[in-house]
């Protein structure tokens, strides 16, 4: 009889991007130690993070190991020791930003433990733009799809694929090329739980500025320059907003104003 999957989610206030990246790597490293006897050789461990959550997913944990998870999960979280961690409540648990929720399931059973002054359960939250919407997790195996329906792409690989796909589609639509190198995309990976593409433009006169200055201003704002096939900058840029795509025009105009402000003479 194969085991069931297990999931641990820590929901917190927005983490700095570098911290979310480091947290995901550290969680996987620690899980390999703490869950060594719980996950069979055929099972797998996966850690992922967004700006608001840190997630560990283990496949094939035998039914008899449920109690052991309840001991391992809080130990694992207590050992994270991320840069900038501090105690936010009386339990002594340290984390870079306040922790607001803990969800843990083994199959369809909650894994009960306490940490950061909170008790774990089967509830989490969807995307913040949707309002304070609680999401009930039926079982660990449905964790990623339940969050997907609540507009959260938990896995970095999913967000990256969504971002790449959206920029490629924008390139095709404009018959131009969106400059989106791996590094620039990676810098956006922890800024949005559900990246939605935005394409905006800027006044033609700004193209008179040195191209390297334009590119640097766009990259600092996490925007992506748009060029023609010969590599010449065009008066457009692509970017990502976080969440639903209602009110796209307001966002486009805001992003354009942010770029113009960054390129104004007083910003130098």
């Amino acid at each position: 009889m194969t085991g069931r999957d297990a999931v641990l989610e820590l929901l917190c206030e927005p983490l700095p991007a570098a911290c979310a990246r480091a947290a995901s790597a550290r969680l996987l490293e620690l899980a390999a130690e703490e869950l060594a006897g719980l996950v069979p050789p055929g099972g797998g461990l996966e850690a992922c993070a967004t700006c608001r959550r840190l997630v560990l997913y283990a496949t094939g944990v035998p039914a008899a190991r449920g109690k052991a998870l309840a001991a391992a999960f809080p130990r694992l979280l207590a050992r994270l020791d991320l840069p900038g961690s501090r105690a936010w409540e009386g339990s002594g648990f340290r984390f870079p930003r306040p922790v607001r929720g803990l969800a843990a399931l083994h199959g369809d059973r909650p894994v009960a433990f306490a940490a950061a002054g909170l008790r774990s359960g089967r509830f989490t939250e969807g995307h913040e733009a949707l309002g304070p919407r609680r999401v009930k997790l039926a079982c660990a195996e449905k964790y990623f799809s339940a969050l997907g329906h609540a507009s959260v792409l938990v896995r970095e690989t999913e967000r990256l694929a969504a971002m790449r796909g959206a920029l490629e589609a924008a390139s095709r639509r404009m018959k131009l090329r969106v400059e989106a190198g791996g590094e620039a995309l990676a810098a956006c990976l922890y800024l949005a739980e559900y990246p939605v593409p935005v394409v905006s433009g800027f006044p033609q006169r700004l193209l008179e500025l040195p191209p390297e200055r334009l590119r640097a201003a766009m990259l600092a704002l996490r925007f992506f320059p748009v060029t023609d096939q010969a590599g010449r900058l065009q008066p457009y840029f692509a970017a990502f907003r976080d969440g639903v795509s209602k009110g796209q025009r307001e966002v486009e105009e805001g992003f354009r104003a942010a770029l113009e402000a960054a390129l104004s003479p007083s910003a130098r």
């Binding site: 969440g243 639903v244 104003a257 942010a258």
Partner: protein, 167 residues
């Protein structure tokens, strides 16, 4: 909703959350024995990176667990439809003032809207401080592009009210 009404609504919202309202320009100091809120105008260009001269300042002492949620709900109370905008939370580590902990420079559609910081006194529970640019919020809520065209009260505009003033 005009600028003046937005301030009324923020006052009412934060008063309902248990904040004592400060008179305009009242000095809210960190470490105050109660939660405080109020609008204030500042002369000259403020160094906090926020747009405009009008701020809405909230001190939550102690900070409830839902402090960020309260802030988001206050934006809705002030007429902002959150689903139509992009809100980002670029994080910063400890602020320069003693007791100023980590927080976020909140961006609305890529533009500075507010600064939300935790206050970490040497002893006692953490507080939270929110500084909000009223001009930025009004521009989004009223869907205007420049502050001068903002409705201040009825037919009086922000531009008419501040005509002849030095920037």
């Amino acid at each position: 909703m005009d600028f003046q009404d937005m301030i009324f609504r923020l006052d009412r919202y934060w008063a309902r959350q248990g904040c004592a309202l400060l008179p305009p320009g009242g000095a809210a100091r960190p470490g105050a024995p109660a939660s405080l809120a109020g609008a204030a105008g500042r002369r000259g260009l403020p160094p906090d990176g926020l747009e405009g001269v009008y701020r809405y300042r909230v001190l939550l002492s102690p900070a409830p667990a839902a402090a960020r949620r309260l802030f988001l709900d206050s934006l809705r109370a002030a007429g902002l439809d959150r689903s139509e905008h992009d809100l980002r939370w670029p994080a910063f580590e400890d602020g320069p003032r003693a007791g100023a902990g980590p927080g976020w420079d909140v961006l609305l559609d890529g533009l500075p809207l507010a600064r939300f910081s935790y206050l970490l006194p040497a002893s006692g529970p953490a507080g939270a401080e929110i500084e909000l640019s009223l001009e930025r919020l009004a521009l989004a809520a009223q869907r205007r592009k420049d502050a001068a065209s903002l409705a201040w009260a009825g037919r009086l505009t922000y531009g008419e009210l501040h005509a002849g003033e030095a920037a």
